[in-house]
Each structure stands twice: as structure tokens, then as C-alpha cells.
């Protein structure tokens, strides 16, 4: 047996093996990403389920880099702002005007237009004059102005305008329809998809109580492409969700795997080492836990206990250790049959010493290999639970992102980015652990 022991041996083993080294580098990178996620976006997590928070983001936008392939139809969000003009001020109310100009060159209208005006006290009335490049115009007004409004907020104004032009309002009107109305040629062809290109002028007039200040203002011409991985139906950026999913995936994967492998190796190792009645008894216990169906059982336990991350890891470990116990037991049995162990027994060396001198050193590489392999297994199980809608509260997980993709029919609607990237992340995070596990397994057990 190699005389080199301890962590150094494993680090050497991993580094010498090409795939082990790649795996190690990937894991370091993932850990760095997790730290970045926690430190920079930790405050965003609790907002994930709060749809108002994501109002100004484009909905169902595909990844931004897609615009590289078709820039005239796929584009990102454009924001414009202006300096407000005070056009009337009295002791009873103030009136401000905000004039915006922008040039539209794309073949498609924005997916939505969001008006954002933050004031020091509530807006009392608001009217928007929308002037197209050819001079035709629409007036949008809302009964209950708020600081953030999108085109749905003006559905009655725009609906009226549409029916004036084409005689009716399409039954399934969305923000997309309203946006087309604001960007199409006035007349019968308003909604046929052609877009007026050129200089648009938007003039917003608001009425506020006296001494109100306008803190900031913006118009979002929402694109259909956003960020590295696009956005979902609520506008939540997938790339951000993925980043937020990193820390919890790694944490629970490692925690679960370490606990269940240690448990499994202890039970299986002792059982195989001692043999006889102890072996039968421990084997029986292993079997009892093994037959509990992990997934539905975790579902029930999640209901009863409402676990946090740590408890969830413990529960999964409780159901996973038998798999490792079974493998550890058979390794222990074969170690036991090796001649030098038998020789020790003949020489009357006490069994606890044989356990520490022969067993533990031989089982350690096994345990390390399976800890590495157990991480992805645990991650997949956790993400599966999350996919079923069982996520510890307050966490953003890849499984919960996919759950929301499933319930919002992402596959039917062709929002592939919402499905593809979170799943790819599960795979990407798993692969380095599998590679390291295999390389240790191969180094230790040879040719396997």
C-alpha cells in the first residue's frame, strides 16, 4: 500500500488525473460564484416571488445574445429619461411636463412600454400624449395613476383608439397588441405588424400636490431579449435566478452527501467487519430504511416539518445512507478476507485495532469517492423536490425556477431558455463532482 496518506494523496490523485483537475477547477469556480451571489444579490432572493419587484423587466425575453443573430427583430430594452419641466405651481397643486424623444428603428414594436415616475408624494392625475413619426397621435389617460404604469394600465384608452381605427378590439389583447397600436400606421392596417420607424415624441403631464418633487423618471421600451439567459413570464432574469440557486445547491449537496456517506460507511463498514449477528442486524436496519421510497417520503416529511435547508439535508441523508452502507459493507467484507487481515487476527491483534489500522485507511478513499459522487445525487433530489414545489421558503432554486416554467407552460410557448439553462446548471454543477469521484475511484480501485 502507498505510504503517502491524508489529504495530500487525494489532492495529488485528483490533480494528476486530467478530468479530476478540470473538476476541481470547476468546483472552485462554482464556489466563487456562490460567494458572489450571496454577497452581491443576497437581498434580491426574498423578492423573487414578488411580481411587482420585476415589473420594469421585459417578460419572456429571450437571451440578449440572440439579438446578435437578428438585430432588427430581437432587441433589448431601451430606457429613456428627461428633465421634468414645471409648467404650473400653486398652493393647491403642481403641474409638470416630461417630454421624451426617441428614434425607433426595429421591425417590431417593443413588447411593452413602462412609464416610471417616482415622486415625493402621490401623483393625482396623469396624461400621456404619444406622437408617432408621421404626426398622428394618441392620448393615454389612466384613472388611477401610480408611479409605475404599463400599457395594460391604459387598456381602455388604447382599446378605444384601436376600435376607432379598425372597427373592433381583438378579443385577446395583450401588452404586445397595445404596443403595436402605438407603433403601427394609423388606419385599417394598424395591427398588421408593420412598424412606423422614425422619431417618436412622448409628452407626459402629471398633476401633483404642491411642493412635490420628481425624484426620477424613465420610459422602458421593453425588448424581447434580456440578459445572459433571458427572463421568465414575470420578468425575472433567469441568469439572476441561476446565480441565486448556486449557494443552496452546493450547500445542500455537500451537506447531504457528507452526512449520508459517513453514516453509510460507519454502518456498512462495521457490519461487514464484524460479520455474524451484528452484521445481520445492521443489514436488516439498512434494509428497513432502503425500502422507504425517497421522493414521496420526503414530500410527506416536507409537509409535516416544513424543513429549512439544513433539516432538508438531514432528511435526504437519512434516506440515502443505506445505498452507501451496502457498498461499504461489501468492500469491508473483501478487505476482511485479505490475508494480512487474517494474519493479524491469528496473531491476536484486537479487532478495534485491526479496524483502525486496516479498515479505516482502506475505506477512506472509498468514502471520499462516494462523497464526491453523492453530491450530484443529492442536488438532483433537492432540485426534484423543488420542481414538485417543495422548496425551503425564501430560497431560489433551479428546481423552483423549472417548476414555475412547467406551470406556466414554457414548453408549449417555446420559452426554451426558461427550461434549458436552469437544467444545464444542474448538470454543470454535478459533472465536476462525478469526474472527481470517478478519478478517485479509478485511482484507488484500479481499472474500474
Amino acid at each position: 500500500m502507498a505510504t503517502e496518506t491524508g489529504i495530500k494523496l487525494y489532492v495529488n490523485t485528483i490533480i494528476k488525473n486530467k478530468s479530476g483537475l478540470i473538476g476541481l477547477i470547476m468546483i472552485i469556480f462554482f464556489v466563487a460564484l456562490s460567494i458572489y451571489a450571496v454577497t452581491s444579490f443576497g437581498k434580491v432572493s426574498p423578492q423573487w416571488e414578488n411580481s411587482v419587484y420585476w415589473e420594469t423587466y421585459p417578460k419572456n425575453a429571450m437571451p440578449y445574445w440572440m439579438s446578435y443573430f437578428n438585430p432588427s427583430k430581437i432587441f433589448g430594452t431601451k430606457t429613456i429619461s428627461t428633465s421634468p419641466l414645471s409648467i404650473y405651481s400653486s398652493s393647491s397643486y403642481d403641474i409638470y411636463q416630461l417630454n421624451y424623444n426617441f428614434t425607433w428603428t426595429k421591425d417590431k414594436p417593443p413588447t411593452d412600454v413602462v412609464f416610471y415616475i417616482e415622486t415625493s408624494s402621490p401623483i393625482q392625475a396623469m396624461q400621456i400624449l404619444w406622437i408617432k413619426p408621421d404626426g398622428t397621435n394618441i392620448t393615454l389617460s389612466s384613472n388611477s395613476p401610480t408611479s409605475i404604469t404599463d400599457l395594460i394600465s391604459y387598456s381602455s384608452s388604447i382599446g378605444n383608439y384601436i376600435s376607432q381605427q379598425i372597427g373592433y378590439v381583438p378579443s385577446s389583447s395583450t401588452s404586445q397588441t397595445y404596443s403595436q397600436a402605438l407603433f403601427g400606421y394609423e388606419g385599417k392596417n394598424l395591427l398588421n405588424g408593420t412598424v412606423e420607424k422614425g422619431l417618436y415624441k412622448v409628452s407626459i403631464t402629471i398633476v401633483t400636490s404642491p411642493n412635490t418633487k420628481i425624484l426620477s423618471n424613465k420610459i422602458y421600451l421593453e425588448g424581447n431579449a434580456y440578459g445572459l439567459f433571458g427572463t421568465d413570464i414575470y420578468g425575472r432574469p433567469i441568469d439572476l435566478g441561476i446565480l441565486l440557486g448556486f449557494p443552496n445547491a452546493l450547500e445542500i449537496g455537500l451537506l447531504t452527501s457528507i452526512i449520508s456517506v459517513i453514516g453509510g460507511v460507519i454502518v456498512g463498514g462495521i457490519s461487514g467487519f464484524l460479520g455474524g449477528k451484528t452484521d445481520s442486524a445492521m443489514n436488516w436496519i439498512t434494509l428497513v430504511i432502503l425500502v422507504l421510497p425517497a421522493l414521496p417520503f420526503l414530500v410527506v416529511l416536507s409537509y409535516i416539518m416544513r424543513p429549512n435547508l439544513f433539516l432538508e439535508a438531514l432528511l435526504i441523508a437519512f434516506l440515502s445512507w443505506p445505498f452507501y452502507a451496502i457498498i461499504a459493507r461489501s468492500s469491508a467484507q473483501s478487505i476482511k478476507n485479505e490475508t494480512f487481515v487474517e494474519a493479524d487476527k491469528v496473531l491476536g491483534i484486537p479487532s478495534y485495532r485491526i479496524f483502525f489500522t486496516h479498515f479505516l485507511p482502506r475505506l477512506t478513499p472509498f468514502a471520499i469517492a462516494y462523497t464526491a459522487l453523492g453530491v450530484p445525487a443529492a442536488i438532483i433530489l433537492v432540485e426534484t423536490l423543488a420542481f414538485l414545489g417543495l422548496t425551503p421558503t425564501g430560497l431560489v432554486t433551479w428546481g423552483s425556477i423549472l417548476n414555475s416554467a412547467e406551470s406556466n407552460l414554457a414548453a408549449v410557448n417555446g420559452w426554451w431558455w426558461w427550461i434549458l439553462f436552469p437544467g444545464v446548471m444542474i448538470i454543470l454543477v454535478s459533472i465536476p463532482f462525478v469526474m472527481i469521484g470517478f478519478s478517485i475511484e479509478k485511482a484507488v480501485f484500479g481499472g474500474k
Partner: protein
């Protein structure tokens, strides 16, 4: 020393082990879910009593004189008898025995919301009507994976040192890192909605074809994508295990002597090595089934395949705890059966086991 135990006593021993494991596992499930079970049973008693009351009211509606007090007395009596049957008004230890007996006889009470296609609210009827579809999908998938996995594992062990050697670890990585349901999701987006080659889900078309032949073909067509997902995810892991087992068996003395005897390589591999490794492979099959349960069940959700996995999902959405509990018990029994069958097969395949030890 050469005590020959024989298959029969081996069998008897295993039966005792597995029955005690069943009781222990059930007790464990019972203990861990005790508060929920009590709640579920109380709700069951409540709905049954309510149903009883409605039935009496309906029955006595035509007879003019309705004595509500009498009816309430009757209903309370009925409720008491139900409480006794479910052991709810018994001391703890009796409660345990009564409820264990109920669990072991698949009497899980009534569902909160779900009902079986025939209208029954009994949990076991509901599960029984979904279970066959899970069994069809899961068994077919498992059989294909075992067959192909064994073949690939053998080939890679035989041609060690060639490309085969690289392929198996690679597909094993896929196995260890890919959630089945996600792959299913992706396949649906690509092959059902992207290129419209396969149906996006369901067990058959709606309405289902009339003739049994067309019905089966239609069902196979619907099974193709879920099976593909199940296959891609699981075949690598199984091939890897078979390969490891075969390679470690190849290092045993008898393989060298078999070669010395002038037996051909393929004869040694397929007859001697495979046959010797088969008890271990059988164990791996049982463990693989246990391990792929979670993935297989969740796949049903994305494919809208109305089996037990899908039922679990719906029960979660509806908070229908009795159904989720019932599924736990039924799947425990199924898993136990798979492991038990493995013991039988192993005992049959390995003459050494019969000798006891």
C-alpha cells in the same frame, strides 16, 4: 462446514426477514407521520359520518316525520363505531396495532379531494387506478435499461482499452448528473413542440383508438419520449456497474484457467463471467430500481402520464395528504417486493448462497 442449507430454507429465512422489514418500515412511516395520520383519519371519520347523515336524511325525506335528534344520535353512534374501527378513541398502543393492521391491509382512509375514475374516494382505489400506468412505464423502461446496459457494459469490458472504454464512463457521468424529468421537459420542448414528431404527453390520444391493437400502438407512441428520457438517464449508470462487476470478475482465477482450457473469449465472457457476476448484477438491478424511482415518478409529471408520480404531484397541489401517505405505503411495498425478488433470483443464480453463510 459444508452444511448445505438448500433453497427452501434459504427462502424461508428471506421471507421472515422481509416480512419483519415490511412491518418495521411501516411502523417507521407510521411514527414519522403520526400527527398527519391522526388528522387524516379524523377527517375520514368526519366525511363518512356526514355521508351517513345525508343518506339517512334522503332516505327519511319521503316519510314526512324527521326527528333530527334521533338522526343525530344515530350519526354519533356511527361515528363512534368508525372511531373504534380506526382506533382513534383507543389508548396509544392499541391505536398503533389497529392502524398498522389497517395500513398492512391497504386501508388508508379517504382522500380529501381526489377521486378515482369510478367516483370512489377511498385512497387505495384511487392509487390502484393509477398504479398500472406507472408499472407499465417503469417496468418497460427498466427492462430496456437492464438489457441495453448489460450489453454495453459487457462490450466495454470485453473491448477494454478501446473507444468503448471511454464511452461508458461518459454516459455514466450523464446518469449521475441529469434529472430525468428535466430531460423529459427538454425533449418535449424539442421533439413535441419544436419539431412535432412525438405527442407532448398523455397516455393515449383523446379520444383513444377503439381497437385494442391501435390502442396499444397509440400508447407505445405516447410512451416513446418518456422511455427515451428514462433510458438516456439510466443506461449509463447501469452499464458502468455491469462493466465494473465484469472487470472485477475477470480478475478472478477461474477466468485464466478457463482460457487455458481452450474456451473461446466470448464463451468465457458470456457463459462463465456473466453467469458468475449475475447474482451481483441482480442486486444492482434492485438498487437501480430503488434509485431511479424518484426520477421515474417525476417524469410522469412533465409527460402528463397519469400514473402514481403524476398523482403525487396533483395530491401535492391539492394538499391531499391521505393520498400522499397512501402512495408512500404502496411504494414501500413495491420496493420491498423488488428487493425480495432480487433475493430469490440471487439465491437461484448463486449456488454458494444455498449453502448458507
Amino acid at each position: 462446514m459444508l452444511k448445505v442449507m438448500g433453497y427452501k430454507s434459504y427462502l424461508a429465512k428471506e421471507i421472515i426477514i422481509y416480512i419483519t422489514v415490511l412491518i418495521a418500515a411501516m411502523s417507521l412511516l407510521y411514527l414519522l407521520t403520526y400527527p398527519v395520520i391522526q388528522e387524516v383519519l379524523k377527517a375520514t371519520v368526519q366525511t363518512e359520518a356526514e355521508g351517513f347523515k345525508q343518506a339517512i336524511l334522503k332516505h327519511s325525506a319521503g316519510h314526512g316525520s324527521i326527528n333530527l335528534t334521533n338522526i343525530n344520535i344515530l350519526v354519533n353512534k356511527y361515528k363512534d363505531s368508525l372511531m373504534t374501527a380506526y382506533g382513534l378513541n383507543q389508548p396509544l398502543y392499541l391505536r398503533y396495532f389497529i392502524q398498522m393492521k389497517n395500513l398492512l391491509t391497504f386501508n388508508f382512509g379517504n382522500a380529501y379531494f381526489l377521486e378515482a375514475p369510478n367516483g370512489s374516494h377511498k385512497v387505495y382505489v384511487i392509487i390502484a387506478s393509477y398504479l398500472p400506468y406507472t408499472i407499465i412505464l417503469f417496468t418497460t423502461g427498466t427492462l430496456i435499461v437492464i438489457f441495453a446496459g448489460t450489453l454495453i457494459g459487457l462490450l466495454s469490458a470485453r473491448y477494454a482499452g478501446t473507444v468503448w472504454d471511454k464511452i461508458v464512463p461518459t454516459i455514466a457521468v450523464i446518469h449521475s448528473s441529469l434529472p430525468t424529468w428535466w430531460l423529459g421537459f427538454l425533449l418535449i420542448a424539442a421533439l413535441a413542440y419544436g419539431v412535432k414528431v412525438f405527442p407532448p404527453g398523455g397516455i393515449t390520444s383523446i379520444p383513444p383508438p377503439k381497437s385494442p391493437l391501435m390502442y396499444s400502438i397509440n400508447m407505445l407512441y405516447h410512451m416513446a419520449l418518456p422511455l427515451l428520457a428514462f433510458f438516456i438517464v439510466n443506461v449509463g449508470g447501469f452499464a458502468y456497474v455491469v462493466r465494473s462487476l465484469v472487470i472485477s470478475t475477470t480478475k478472478e482465477d477461474f477466468v485464466m484457467t478457463a482460457k487455458a482450457r481452450g474456451l473461446s473469449d466470448s464463451r468465457i465472457l458470456y457463459r462463465h463471467i456473466l453467469r458468475t457476476a449475475s447474482p451481483s448484477i441482480s442486486t444492482q438491478v434492485a438498487l437501480a430500481i430503488a434509485g431511479s424511482f424518484a426520477g421515474g415518478l417525476t417524469t410522469e409529471i412533465v409527460f402528463n402520464w397519469h400514473g402514481v408520480g403524476w398523482l403525487t404531484y396533483v395530491a401535492i397541489l391539492l394538499n391531499d395528504l391521505p393520498v400522499i401517505l397512501g402512495i408512500n405505503f404502496v411504494l414501500t411495498v413495491i420496493l420491498l417486493l423488488a428487493l425480495f425478488i432480487n433475493e430469490l433470483v440471487k439465491g437461484y443464480l448463486d449456488p454458494r448462497i444455498k449453502a448458507g453463510g
